[in-house]
Symmetry: C2
Subunit: 357 residues, 2 copies
């Protein structure tokens, strides 16, 4: 039978934007594996392996390590909705579009938000947080480890210490860091961390790896009211991923196949070697960009993300035209500026397979 719809045959792309990243043939092949039932003992064993591999990449011993059934944004929302109740205070460090989104999500949940703002392209300084904590009494201190919109790598240790001294949980967005650089959730003192599958892990977008420290689990159990979302209730995730194996939602079987395969690639390469590869490729990319006379958005080299580099669009150049030409002529995708950087910055990520900048 004829149909007005064509055969699925997308043009080949080299994905160097901020995500999705390039996927290896091995992970793509995993996506074509016939399904198991979501409670099939063989599928539950694959979930257990995925969980073990997630603990490796987060560098954590946390029991509550699993995936939220949605993209990285589901991870962000699950992190806040499980930690906060309406009226709770939260301190959010904002230095880019994803910090802004944290504020929006926390406000929609009815939390009282204290902002610590930093110029886009720079990292939040511990002194700013210390200053804010003189008056604020937040239940949670939140920030973005690798701000995708600016290309800034945020140092965490000092701010984690300040958060804990103030009796707050430390919540970290690791969407563009997990798998591409050390995250060290336990050593840093992260209480809630989340990520996405489509950046430095090299799987398709669909799932949000997450981990909750014992303190975060304790705070969850001490809630006055149930989490207002059933779909993003971390206790429900644990009922499915933990020993109970209760039905919460139908597992995203194909996407777990893919994530497990991508995590095996991380496991086999090793976190240290993978991190060094990202750093090496970043240095090569930046050397090339600077040799072309381009200026980076992030002035301080120590703040530059190994996994994503932001370039200022030169005077007189129209960024959309450059991106369009790269895509159409060469099949290469890079990202445009987000939020207040719209039209001002092009973003090249290099997480995942073959994306060497």
């Amino acid at each position: 039978m004829t149909t007005p719809f064509g055969t699925l045959n997308p043009s080949p792309r080299l994905l160097l934007g901020p995500g999705p990243s390039q996927i290896s043939p091995r992970v793509l092949r995993a996506c074509a594996t016939p399904l198991l039932g979501y409670l099939d003992p063989e599928y539950l064993a694959l979930m257990d392996e995925t969980q073990a591999l997630l603990r490796e990449v987060f560098e954590t011993k946390n029991a509550w390590t699993f995936c939220a059934p949605g993209t990285g944004m589901a991870g962000m929302e699950a992190a806040f909705i499980n930690a906060l109740e309406p009226g709770d205070e939260v301190l959010i460090c904002v230095q880019g579009a994803f910090g802004e989104r944290m504020v929006e999500i926390a406000r929609r949940l009815g939390a009282k938000v204290t902002r610590v703002d930093t110029e886009w392209g720079r990292a939040t300084q511990p002194e700013q947080v210390a200053e804010a904590l003189r008056t604020a009494r937040p239940k949670v201190v939140a920030l973005v480890h690798a701000e995708t919109s600016t290309g800034v790598l945020q140092p965490l240790e000092e701010i984690a210490r300040l958060a804990h001294e103030a009796g707050a949980l430390f919540l970290v967005d690791c969407v563009t860091s997990l798998g591409g650089m050390p995250v060290r959730a336990d050593a840093v003192g992260m209480d809630i961390a989340y990520s996405g599958t489509q950046k430095c892990l090299g799987a398709p977008p669909s799932l949000a790896p997450m981990t909750f420290s014992p303190a975060a689990v304790e705070a969850y159990h001490a809630r006055k009211a149930p989490v207002p979302s059933f779909y993003l209730d971390a206790g429900q995730f644990w009922r499915y991923w933990g020993p109970e194996r209760a039905y919460h939602q139908t597992g995203m079987i194909t996407m777990i196949y893919a994530l497990r395969e991508a995590l095996l690639e991380v496991h086999e390469e090793g976190l240290a070697a993978r991190s060094a590869r990202h750093r090496r490729n970043q240095r090569a990319l930046i050397a090339g960009l600077e040799a072309m006379g381009l200026t980076l958005l992030v002035p301080d080299p120590t703040w530059r993300l190994p996994s994503l580099t932001t370039v200022l669009v030169p005077e007189g150049v129209e960024d959309k035209a450059v991106r369009g030409a790269l895509l159409e002529k060469y099949g290469i995708e890079i990202g445009g500026g987000l939020g207040r950087l719209a039209g001002r910055g092009g973003r090249g990520g290099r997480g995942g397979f073959g994306a060497s900048g």
Copy 2:
């Protein structure tokens, strides 16, 4: 390098449970297609085609027709969270585990729930709804079209009329009906309908097809406060799926490839032929079951779901042992009883490819 983790090589299964259903080779192959960026013009064109195909299968002209980025449960939660605000009244018809889940979700959102309860295995009668509407003044009347936990097909027209006469929106769960039997969203008068991809559509679990009538969109715009969830905000879905093409979350590219391919299979077979195939297979399955001396949970043949048949476990038989033996000896999956039917009913679905009961 060696690893303690084995090669991905699940045992072959014939998935005859309540979902995921068997996936065709063509849809599996679509899952292995290299990624496009989530704003790539070629990807946006595939989203448009998916949207057109979803309108066909829902039988609707609604503009707001798209997928929530999560499994069918995300569709359920998105349906309620976009329609209701805390304190709003909702009338929910409960005749199985998914009606119960609607109640749980609506309560977590802070809605005031009026229940219309029906014995599990039977359909809600319009008189019950009319009776409840004598005192209740709900903003939404909600029910499940195809109750997966009992195998009941719920007649809708009369209850839709009663809901509209009472000035309420009519919200319908089509998770186990869409693609397997007529849903006719516009003709029935559905205001919000949602489904999952892993049942009668024959794609992997991951996305929740949804549609909102103009009245539902109007109610969305008349909200007093923003939807408390950013991730499940239908207005944000529309910003991405509609002409604006704004970034809400990274699209689930692989899963859209799969869903589009599965919807093309529906399109090519035709809704009427597909529906007749399900009915034919259901009759053959039931004839076989009755010849074996088994009793069905649903007494009235007109209420029996074409896509899912529930069998009572005979006295002296342990359902878990039967299901385990089917899986281990023959690689066949059927479902166990859910909720108050745990241990009492085995469920065989026949949505999707090759699942002929």
